[in-house]
């Protein structure tokens, strides 16, 4: 499992540019994936968020309202690309 620390800004080769809204959201989702208190990741992010909310772990509220249906990168975390 690749353990990443999310940098504040994406370093491109020539200049530092601010992140797009989508990139910011994806970053937040990755942070949420790495939160060990919310349990394993091999379920969809929404399901994992529901579980964390139900058990009183206070996951970030913004995640709940992200456009999960619009973008396929949002629904599952990285490791779900690997088959079971």
């Amino acid at each position: 499992e690749i353990c990443r620390s999310a940098p504040e800004q994406v370093q491109s080769h020539d200049e530092l540019r601010p992140l797009t809204a989508r990139e910011k959201e994806l970053q937040e989702l990755r942070q949420f994936d790495q939160d060990w208190r919310c349990g394993p990741c091999s379920i969809s992010r929404l399901q994992r968020w529901e579980r964390a909310a139900q058990h009183g772990l206070n996951p970030p509220r913004e995640i709940r309202y992200m456009p999960f249906s619009a973008d396929t990168d949002y629904t599952h975390c990285l490791s779900s690309d690997y088959p079971l």
Partner: protein
């Protein structure tokens, strides 16, 4: 406690009630003194049955006392059939308020594309706060509760996590198919524990071996507990003390004004090769529906407000899997063993549901899914009885509230599995253990088949039941226990009816349980058979 003995005698040629020949037959079979016995004869269809009650001083709450024969009732049975204008006495069955609450065990759409890690994660998530509270109650509010990754060497602290028991003898599919070991598949054993078993505690991130003041044999994988001790130099955690989540909070039950009974029954074993218990089963059905006995017994039977069947309605022999391995041309005309057995069950249930509400739970050998929670049997298998609203097809485990009394239990798979992986033998002891662990089936999903839940673990007891049972035990056992916060629970290990012919009657008013045994004698054995009056 006193037992009922209902016996069938040989059908006498002269079957007029009150005939002295019948009394002589009866006295031959009775091996105890006759002064207190009430031989009564009730001619019912082609059977002759008599009740011999052994009257000993017992509390009024006992079912046998409630339905004790009244003064002069003997003559009522032994008199000639009544005339047309004599009103037959009709007893209305008590109708308590019933509400099933097993929604958590019903599965809607099922997805098996999930790992079992989730059920363990959610189990720990739910139980951690409870155990933290218990730990503070037991070892002081300032006890240090540490995560395994924050452990300091030598520091006395408390850790909370899921137990894993490493057992050498536990069958491992990886070992079996590994070529380097050249192992043959292990024959199934009754117990998989050994001297070399080790306990390991796992929290969200790490695991650590446990040693010290903890009895490895009494614990099973999947239990969530809190341990007090310290990590020593060798990287193992030395246990000084431990605590479980113990009994959950209990809602107070409403005190009932009159005695109401629930009949708990399990392990009917229909469709089996031995039909020993069929007669006993018919007796039970006749008794509950009020077809047997005099007015006292019939009014007693009307206090039975509900019947609960806790699994293994069909016999294990109906699960013959030969049909799947044999060639199709050999099995074309044969039908599954379960078909006839289910027909028998449906006919029996129809007799019951026409008179009393029945909850039917599936068990290990019944035609429903294998993994827990087992889904209710499908109503299409009960063409005769499903038209009655009194038939309640329930899940396993099953939970219901009857007149404010909360009843929860399983058909016994959870208890039997724990028995295989621990040193405990008594079903009642294991049942109490699961209650104190606050989990119905800790060995699920490790060694007990279970659905891959991810949101919540439905086997965690959130509310303490008043009656907690498990079915298909080898013998009848019952016990009242009291929790630390004043909870009162009646634990019942319901015996397997096909081998013991015993059912249990629970009094909802007093929360007491008594066994009721239906034994029968065949026409052949006369002098040899003795009346068994032991408990």
């Amino acid at each position: 406690m006193s037992d009922w003995f209902v016996c069938y005698v040989r059908r006498c040629a002269t079957s007029t009630p009150g005939n002295s020949q019948i009394s002589r037959e009866i006295s031959k079979l009775c091996s105890f003194e006759r002064t207190n016995s009430f031989p009564k004869v009730n001619v019912h269809f082609n059977k002759i049955a008599f009740f011999v009650t052994n009257k000993r001083p017992i509390k009024a709450a006992m079912f046998s006392e409630v339905s004790a024969p009244q003064e002069g009732s003997c003559s009522l049975l032994l008199c000639r059939p009544g005339s047309e204008d004599q009103e037959p006495s009709v007893f209305d069955r008590v109708k308590p308020a019933y509400s099933p609450c097993s929604e958590r065990f019903k599965l809607g759409e099922r997805s098996f594309n999930r790992q079992y890690a989730h059920i363990y994660a959610t189990r720990l998530m739910q139980m951690s706060p409870l155990l933290t509270e218990r730990a503070q109650q037991k070892w002081g509010a300032d006890v240090r509760i540490r995560k395994l990754c924050d452990l300091q060497m030598g520091e006395q602290c408390c850790i909370v996590g899921t137990l894993f028991k490493h057992m050498e003898l536990q069958p491992s599919i990886l070992k079996e198919i590994s070529e380097e070991h050249n192992l043959l598949p292990q024959p199934p054993r009754t117990r998989y524990i050994s001297e070399s078993d080790e306990l390991i505690l796992e929290d969200e991130l790490q695991r650590i071996k446990l040693e010290g003041n903890i009895d490895v044999d009494k614990f099973v994988t999947g239990s969530v507990i809190a341990i007090y001790g310290a990590e020593k130099n060798d990287g193992k955690f030395t246990v000084d003390d431990f605590c479980t989540a113990d009994l959950p909070p209990q809602a107070p039950r409403t005190t009932l004004s009159s005695d109401r009974f629930v009949l708990l029954l399990s392990g009917l074993g229909l469709g089996g090769s031995h039909a020993d218990s069929m007669l006993a089963l018919q007796l039970l059905v006749d008794m509950v529906t009020g077809h047997l006995g005099d007015q006292g017994e019939q009014s007693g039977a009307s206090t039975i407000s509900r019947v609960l069947l806790a699994g293994n309605l069909l016999s294990q022999s109906t699960q013959d899997k030969d049909a799947s391995t044999k060639a199709k041309y050999l099995t074309k005309k044969t039908q599954a063993g379960t078909v006839d057995a289910m027909r028998l069950l449906d006919e029996m249930l129809m007799q019951l549901v026409s008179s009393v509400p029945v909850d039917v739970m599936p068990g290990q050998y019944d035609p429903t899914n294998y993994t827990l929670p087992q889904q209710p049997l499908h109503h299409c298998m009960f063409p005769l009885s499903s038209s009655y609203p009194t038939l309640q097809l329930a899940s396993n485990p099953h939970q219901a509230t009857l007149d404010g009394v909360r009843i929860l239990g399983t058909s016994g798979q959870n208890v039997k599995d724990i028995q295989k992986y621990s040193s405990m033998d008594s079903h009642l002891e294991i049942l109490e253990n699961t209650l104190r662990l606050r989990h119905l089936a800790p060995t699920a999903p490790d060694t007990l088949g279970c659905y891959p839940f991810y949101l919540k673990d439905p086997f965690i007891l959130e509310e303490c039941p008043h009656v907690y049972f498990s079915g298909n035990a080898p013998s009848y056992q019952a016990k009242r226990i009291t929790g630390a916060d004043g909870q009162e629970v009646l634990l019942v290990a319901i015996p397997e009816f096909s081998s013991t012919q015993t059912a249990c009657l629970v009094n909802l008013r007093t929360l007491e349980c008594e066994p009721i045994r239906f034994s029968s004698f065949s026409a052949g054995d006369d002098e040899e058979s003795e009346m068994n009056i032991s408990h």
